[in-house]
């Protein structure tokens, strides 16, 4: 390196509005993640195990149309839950922890990016990445089953496709706040990944132990919460031992409390407190 003879050149050009910059963060995050060989491997493995076989099975099997039961069963399989959890752990692990470790928050917050824009950008990126497993394959499965149906009631089948979109979005969003919270608590990527996975299983174990005394403890288990929420989305009745109010409260709590904590953490970090 030497003293550069190049003069400083001013730049004049158009600037995108502030809202579009959220998408820039999301897109950047998505492209970074999708290039990761471990995430790609997990995605391919997960899609192959959870979706490729059902696609062949349902498209070859004679069927009148797309039933809600088929899609609900598919969305509620434990294999999808486990792969979703693994992917959330890997995708969210460095979402915030990397910025904590490198102090790069200041690069965002010295620009026209508010805390909520930063968070929305990161959630958007994580959502896009996770949806390659949780959103695209189930919709693809639903469309293929509809395309190969023998009956003529396509309207009903597309209705189920629509419900599947909602269910898949819920599936995608459910774990993201939790993953982001764990990521915001440490500046070590590995701790965040293992933490996300372990805390979920600890909750499942606690639920398993205490539900023998009171059935409401089942709703501490994230898998059960998601399972029953899918039941609600597909329009099935909840079992009598499940308190629908408690289910709604816990689902909302899972989604909002971690996000609020992440927001406070990032906001304080941005201000330097």
């Amino acid at each position: 390196m030497s003293i550069d003879p190049i003069r400083y050149k001013p730049w004049s050009g158009e600037r995108a509005n502030h809202f579009q910059r959220i998408f820039v963060i999301s897109k950047f995050f998505f492209l970074q993640k999708i290039k990761s060989k471990w995430i790609l491997l997990l995605l391919i493995l997960g899609i192959f195990i959870s979706t490729v076989f059902p696609i062949f099975m349902y498209s070859m099997m004679p069927h009148e149309g797309l039933d809600k039961e088929i899609m609900a069963d598919h969305m509620q399989t434990q294999i999808i839950f486990i792969f979703t959890l693994l992917l959330v752990a890997m995708i969210c692990s460095d979402t915030i922890s990397e910025d904590l470790r490198s102090n790069s928050f200041v690069l965002y917050f010295s620009r026209a990016i508010k805390t909520e824009s930063y968070l929305a950008g990161k959630i958007g990126g994580a959502f896009l990445t996770l949806s390659t497993f949780t959103l695209v394959p189930p919709i693809l499965l639903a469309i293929i089953i509809t395309a190969t149906q023998s009956g003529n009631d396509y309207l009903a089948s597309f209705g189920v496709v629509g419900i599947t979109v909602v269910a898949a979005i819920a599936n995608t969003l459910f774990f993201l706040p939790f993953g982001l919270l764990i990521s915001s608590l440490t500046n070590r990527k590995s701790y965040a990944a293992v933490g996300t996975f372990m805390i979920t299983f600890i909750l499942m174990i606690i639920s398993g132990i205490f539900m023998e005394f009171n059935s409401n403890w089942e709703l501490i288990d994230p898998y059960s919460v998601l399972y029953y929420f899918q039941e609600v989305i597909y329009g099935f009745d909840l079992p009598s031992n499940v308190n629908s109010g408690a289910l709604a409260a816990i689902f909302t709590g899972f989604m909002t409390i971690p996000l609020a904590l992440v927001y406070i953490r990032i906001h304080l970090k941005a201000v330097g407190k």
């Binding site: 550069d4 400083y8 600037r15 509005n17 490198s102 690069l107 010295s110 330097g272």
Partner: protein, 341 residues
């Protein structure tokens, strides 16, 4: 598309009676200053309130009292527009080390609102400017401290901000790198930018800046053009003398009666004295002869920004200590000069 901020126009920054508190700690205390365009040095000891001032200007902190404006806009109310005008180079490590320089600077341009078609060529342009060559394609984690400083500058200027805040821009750089960094800053300022530089390497700042603001304990201590501040030290001379300790004491006492003695170190049979004398040195030599000391050296002491800085802080700290003593007479400190570092 948002309105393009006033690129290429010198922008002024004002702070009127700004007070910022962190709980019980008063970080900025009734801070009033008008920062002109050009390269402005923001000086102060650690904890003086420099970073708080910059954070308040960035709109990250809302002042408890007072108002701040950048180009007439309040950063707390018009955060987006104000930050679009600003480029910030932080003191500490802040680069995403898993990225290479091109990707990082492009990304920063992009989130500053540049379109993709502009951000990529512009990032190469600013990396060329700061002197990052083919290394730009390597991960930042492999960069030396000097290279990281250059990339930090590149990300701050990628969107061509009207105002630049540079926090310790030469931190960790070798002497040659420091010279090059200050050259870069001067080149940027040539295109009518307002550049606020906070640094502890006052020698660098003295060569590059036009205006100095000194801040201590959250309040403005002094400000002014660098030439005017240095002129206050005009006529400063250094005397080196040898003799018997008692004779040196007599010599020093006589000098104090006739001149403003800035500092005096008498150690055994040697004395180093700094005083202000705008005339020739004949009278000093006469006093020396009368006191029977040998003046070995007498030469102008070049005033530096460091002298101005330390001298100003000494006076301010002494004033603060006096105020504290007056407020609580029971806590008077015995011995030593109050507040002198």
């Amino acid at each position: 598309m948002t309105a393009v901020p006033p690129q290429g126009q010198a922008v002024t920054i004002t702070s009127n009676n700004v007070t910022v508190r962190y709980g019980k700690i008063l970080a900025l205390n009734d801070f009033t200053v008008k920062v002109p365009s050009g390269i402005v040095g923001l000086l102060g000891p650690n904890g003086a309130g420099k970073s708080t001032f910059i954070k308040a200007l960035l709109g990250l902190l809302r002042p408890d009292n007072g108002t701040m404006t950048i180009a007439g806009r309040d950063p707390s109310d018009d955060m987006g527009a104000v930050r679009d005008m600003i480029g910030y180079m932080p003191e500490h490590d802040c680069l995403i080390e898993s990225l290479n320089a091109v990707n990082l600077v492009t990304y920063m341009g992009h989130i500053s609102g540049m379109l993709k078609k502009d951000a990529i060529p512009r990032s190469h342009e600013v990396l060329d400017f700061v002197g990052i060559g083919e290394e730009r394609y390597r991960d930042i984690s492999s960069y030396s401290t000097g290279m990281k400083q250059r990339v930090k500058l590149a990300q701050a200027i990628v969107h061509d901000p009207a105002i630049l805040f540079l926090d310790e821009p030469t931190n960790g750089m070798d002497p040659q790198g420091r010279v090059e960094m200050m050259e870069l800053i001067k080149k940027i300022s040539d295109s009518d930018k307002s550049i606020m530089v906070s640094t502890h390497i006052l020698d660098d700042l003295e060569k590059a800046s036009d205006y100095i603001i000194i801040i201590n304990n959250g309040h403005l201590v002094t400000e002014g053009k660098i030439d005017e501040l240095l002129a206050k030290k005009e006529g400063q001379k250094m005397i080196k003398a040898v003799g018997q300790p008692s004779e040196l004491d007599v010599f020093l006492t006589s000098l104090k009666k006739a001149f403003e003695v800035r500092s005096a170190i008498v150690d055994g049979g040697q004395a180093s004295i700094v005083l202000i004398n705008k005339d020739d040195g004949n009278y000093i030599f006469k006093i020396g002869q009368e006191s029977q000391v040998q003046i070995r050296a007498y030469y102008p002491e070049r005033a530096s920004l460091e002298d101005v800085f330390i001298g100003t802080l000494d006076i301010d700290n002494a004033n603060e200590a006096e105020k504290t003593d007056a407020a609580s007479p029971g806590n008077k400190i015995e011995g030593g000069e109050p507040g002198v570092n």
